[in-house]
């Protein structure tokens, strides 16, 4: 269990955080400048905030005012940052055994497991400068894990990597969580990472906790426009697989029966590896949906869903249109000009055109690794 209460005024913003979580993986989510990194640094003990309470299980790591201050080296909270920050004058092995516990940990079953999971064995004798970005991040993770931390503090560990490498690192984190039982605080601004890894999610905005809950709860049902904007994925749908059309290259998901038009419609997505009846998570960005008043002719978009407009919310220079299709509400982003020209209004029916490739299969992150 981790209990955090921090208060500190900075020049740009005030950090005022108060939460408690049992993890095992706590996602800290928010846009840059929200105070995520400062929060991690305060936990690690490398930033002293004016008021601070950090408790891990039964141990009090700091209590200010109250003058309890456990120095960073005694907290057993290992920091892994966006840059791997390997020690350049040491080999991979030197980096892995750097922590006081590292040398003995490497000899034990746990250490061998870490080397195994992160595939570090071939890298041991090499110097950090000769490693690729992904390899460096693997070593950084291994170095942190071998210090046998109580919690791993991850500061956007995939931000500096390309999409493929970040999926790989994510898979390794997932594996570390599953097979090594590591507890983590994961700071990120990528929603899919939260869905893949976090059990509990804390959303920060301007230094404050604006939401906490399971990632799906926080992301799918954002409370307040602020959280919705932060999350960035406008439509998050958990749908049951109906059938696969392997020749057509699509999987069909049931949109469910709703009170209005469109009951019994299906959503076409790229082929998903899941059994019929399985529920999968689909992310869909509001700007990837085209609205039409009339049913269009033949198009390459596999989805032409019909629904009812239930809301029109101006957001900045755009309008967020909510379209009720079956049991789900799709948020679609259009320009005010489009609203005027099409005469979009509450209660009207409209068609939503969606390419299959715009439907992002989020559960894919969960199935990167075989269960077990």
């Amino acid at each position: 269990m981790i209990r955090v209460r921090l208060h500190q005024r900075f020049v740009r913003f005030t950090l005022d955080v108060d939460f408690e979580s049992t993890g095992p993986v706590v996602g800290v989510f928010g846009r840059s400048g929200a105070g995520k990194t400062t929060l991690l640094h305060a936990l690690a003990g490398i930033v002293k905030t004016a008021e601070a309470t950090v408790r891990i299980d039964e141990d009090i790591l700091c209590q200010r005012p109250g003058e309890i201050w456990v120095p960073p080296e005694s907290r057993r909270l290992a920091l892994v940052t966006q840059d791997p920050l390997l020690f350049p004058h040491l080999t991979t092995r030197g980096n892995l055994t750097y922590s006081p516990r590292g040398r003995s940990a490497l000899q034990e079953a746990y250490g061998r497991r870490v080397v195994d999971v992160l595939r570090l064995a071939p890298l041991l004798g090499r110097s950090p400068q000769t490693l690729s970005g992904g390899e460096q991040q693997r070593v950084a993770l291994g170095r942190a894990l071998l210090s046998e931390p109580r919690w791993l503090l991850l500061d956007e560990p995939t931000a500096a990597l390309d999409a493929e490498l970040s999926r790989e690192v994510l898979a390794l984190l997932l594996e570390a969580k599953r097979s090594l039982g590591v507890r983590m605080i994961l700071v990120t601004h990528r929603a899919p990472e939260l869905l893949a890894l976090a059990d509990d999610c804390v959303v920060l905005d301007a230094g404050r906790v604006v939401a906490q809950g399971s990632p799906l709860e926080v992301i799918a049902k954002p409370r307040g426009v602020g959280v919705a904007n932060l999350v960035g994925v406008d439509n998050l749908l958990r749908l049951a697989v109906e059938r696969h059309d392997e020749v057509g290259g699509v999987s069909w998901l049931a949109l469910g029966a709703g009170p209005s038009l469109g009951a019994g419609q299906s959503l076409a997505t790229p082929l998903i590896e899941a059994l019929a009846g399985d529920r999968v998570d689909i992310g869909l960005y509001a700007e990837d949906i085209i609205l039409s008043r009339a049913r269009p002719g033949a198009t390459s978009a596999r989805n032409c869903l019909t629904g009812t407009i239930t809301a029109l919310d101006p957001v900045g220079h755009e309008v967020l249109v909510s379209l009720e299709v079956g049991s789900v509400a799709l948020r679609c982003r259009v320009t005010p000009g489009a609203v005027r020209e099409l005469g979009l209004a509450m209660g009207q029916s409209a068609f939503a055109l969606i390419k299959t490739t715009a439907c992002h299969h989020l559960s894919a992150y969960r199935t990167l690794l075989p269960d077990g």
Partner: protein, 224 residues
Amino acid sequence: MSAEERAVVGLALQVALWVVVVSIGPGIGVGWALARWSSRWKLLLQGIVMLPLVLPPIVTGYLLLRLLGRSSLLGQAFHAVTGGHIAYTSGACVIAAAVVGFPLLVESVRLSMLSVDRRLELVSRSLGRGRLSTFCRITLPLSWPGVVSGLVLAFARALGEFGATMILAGNIEGETRQIPLAVYTLLNRPGSEAAVVRLTAVSVGLSLVALVGAAFLAGRRRRA
């Protein structure tokens, strides 16, 4: 080279080596403080340390004499304890040369420690290494080329030290007379041109070897 000249060169080398020995600890400590402290006293410390770089060496020597001479409090205390004196000894040569060379060492250490990514130190702390351990395992090894070149500069500067040494240690043959003082003395002695040329050559040679050696060491360290 005459026996007299060999003694001069030998003493110069001894003094310069002792300068390296006594400066290394304080030089690393002060360089680190100037690189990592954020206190407002840092500027004052930096000013004091850099002072010998801009003061006329003779003035530095005079201040040292007031501080350590026979009539000073420290000088008297030293005499009471050991029965000896600081001023006008080869020890005084070391002190004068160390003080004058200190800013060169500190500046070199400071710059190389500034170039060590602080986040490496923070990661080290979070991995369970304390301040001192982090310093010895991360900061110092990574700034080592700067420390070495600072020490070499201090060494070379000690070989060339003249003004402060003359005031604090005098020009005593066999005791405090090193290369610059010997050259100065020989220039005033008719018919010693050959000796002056020999000492000059030794002076240039030693300094060059030291500087090239330092550059080589620093380069090799960086490539390693």
